[in-house]
Symmetry: none
Subunit: 207 residues, 4 copies
Amino acid sequence: MDGRELPRREREKLAQRGEMMATALDLFSKKGYRNVSMQEIAEKAEFAVGTLYKFFRNKEDLYKALLGEQADAFDEALRIAIEGPGLEIDKLRNYVKAKGLVFRSNVSVIRLYLAETQGASLDIKAGLDTEIRERYGIFLNKLASVFESGMKRKRFRKIADPFSLAVALDSITSAFLLLWLEEPERHPYPEDPDAILNILFKGLVDQ
Amino acid sequence: MDGRELPRREREKLAQRGEMMATALDLFSKKGYRNVSMQEIAEKAEFAVGTLYKFFRNKEDLYKALLGEQADAFDEALRIAIEGPGLEIDKLRNYVKAKGLVFRSNVSVIRLYLAETQGASLDIKAGLDTEIRERYGIFLNKLASVFESGMKRKRFRKIADPFSLAVALDSITSAFLLLWLEEPERHPYPEDPDAILNILFKGLVDQ
Amino acid sequence: MDGRELPRREREKLAQRGEMMATALDLFSKKGYRNVSMQEIAEKAEFAVGTLYKFFRNKEDLYKALLGEQADAFDEALRIAIEGPGLEIDKLRNYVKAKGLVFRSNVSVIRLYLAETQGASLDIKAGLDTEIRERYGIFLNKLASVFESGMKRKRFRKIADPFSLAVALDSITSAFLLLWLEEPERHPYPEDPDAILNILFKGLVDQ
Amino acid sequence: MDGRELPRREREKLAQRGEMMATALDLFSKKGYRNVSMQEIAEKAEFAVGTLYKFFRNKEDLYKALLGEQADAFDEALRIAIEGPGLEIDKLRNYVKAKGLVFRSNVSVIRLYLAETQGASLDIKAGLDTEIRERYGIFLNKLASVFESGMKRKRFRKIADPFSLAVALDSITSAFLLLWLEEPERHPYPEDPDAILNILFKGLVDQ
DNA sequence: CATGAATGAGTCTTCATTCAT
DNA sequence: GATGAATGAAGACTCATTCAT
């Protein structure tokens, strides 16, 4: 038996919590924070409201836990993609691939995550808002340092400052994912990362 | 007298409507759709709630009218920037400039507009959603045709399909505006459009 | 027509407010603060809950207004009874009579008033609590000064300090009123104030 | 071994019950019946809620047991003070002293007890209410009989009927204890019972 | 026609009580 | 026999919408 195995009770609690969060995520991402009632979440998750409140102090708490954990996972996945040794160009490829993968396997979170990082979160005052964006900012800087490193090593040309390039790459991938989200058939997210990266790699205008 | 001149009565009504929408826009963009009450809008606009309901059938209607008209204005401004004769490269420059201008002089709308076009509109079910996005899609195609035309005339290299380039440019400019919105001092929107366009124009990797 | 006459609208509002307060008073005094719901008050007063909230910011507010106004009236009536010129002994008689009258014609308030002045208000944190007691303290001092004045003028013997005598008289009258409240037949509040005052006036033990 | 000694099991249960009641008393007297939850009591007493319900059928039951037992103790102490042989005047002195002692060493109960006997118990409908008051009535009659006996033996003058005197003495002592409770420094409960009794013993007005 | 008072369904949250383990 | 997780009814409060004046 594995030492990391939790006692049954604990495992059940985690499972419950997981179900609640999954249900809440589903509803929030479909209808928006204010349009989902605790009653509704509880009902759909097949718990009593009271039980919901045993796990989360209040509605906002639930929402924050939700976003926080999802953002953690995303952040982690993207961070790993660009860390470690290797050519900068490969890191960027990894990033584009990872972002596609992680988003496409978490469709319901995308809208919520984008709402928070792209700046349209008007329901939850601050706190999460701030926290997620901060981490997002940190990630952008890491991405920028990939560009910077590439320039230092003369592998990239200095066509713009590294941070702007990071912003550009991040926004482009998000935009493509959004298109895919709306019409998956018409706008598939490219399998080959270079389909996106070439926009940055190759110049539109001859030098 | 000008034939287009409206009777006093009509003009007054339009003025009233304008004030209501301006007040609503201000409140919605600051606090979010669900966090603003009709009472609050009426009070701040110095009308009675009943009067508000004379102009807009319900809260959603008001919101849709608001977004719709703002989107109209934006769309128009951006469309004009890329229409007409001239070099494609100049059209793109015009677009980057116009987008900067129009957004920076309508700060309070940005968040709402981005929320709708970038995909986080969870409060209003559909309808507006659809309409704005449709027009947004149409505009993206117009922008794409600028790239296409540039390619046809051998002014642009075929580094990616025109629509993808349009998406890329649009998302990059939006991302920069978002950064500016959060920290205007740290992230000014560039005066020179080439600061942004070079990301597309020049290639990161030598050919 | 009287200049003090209020416009119809205002009069109606006051009448509504009055009805709400009367209903609330009735319910609170019968069932206690926490055992009465705003819904219940609204229903019994034949208003919608929302209307209740138009007049009182919240439940506590309603309770405070209630107690405050009633305490005002009581305080006023008792104060008048012991003010002005005249023999101290007559003032005390007036006080005993007035207290009897005012309480017996406001039966439903007695319990609430006593609960506040006699110290068992555990539902409402502070504020009213404090305010009513303060005014009650002030009144006790006024009553004490009647005893003091009587002593100075050699009309009363110095059997205890004036404040203690005030406390004694006040508590005795309250106690009798409480008895009457429980069993009006068995424990009528005496018509002749001396029936109560003699307890203080005449000595139990020969001097 | 003593025959009255209870088996360990029983003793433990009694001890548990005692702790629950002590905790409940503390909380009720501080926050009021409705503002204390069974969870809170259980937690603070370090038992599970279920255990609480093993000892008391429901919340009201717990409250009644609490008040009942406290009232028993009070009643007993006061009864003893005025029973037995001895001069009536000494019994009254004993009563004043005993009431002071018993109240001051049970501060947390005072408010609850007074709330019940002085008529402001609005939380618990009837039952306890009735029972406590009944016993309180019985005690008042016992106190009255002390006055009566004194009058019969020509030791007291007939300044009022014995029951009224009992009510008066009881309410005065309670009032003084209440004052002490609020501001112990400013209003100490007198060490010498005559400080209070003189209000009854000596007449305010010369005969 | 404008007004804004009135409405009451709907929201979040608490807590007495039960019962499976 | 103790435990405390689960329940869900009930309560305070908000706000979109209506309609009498």
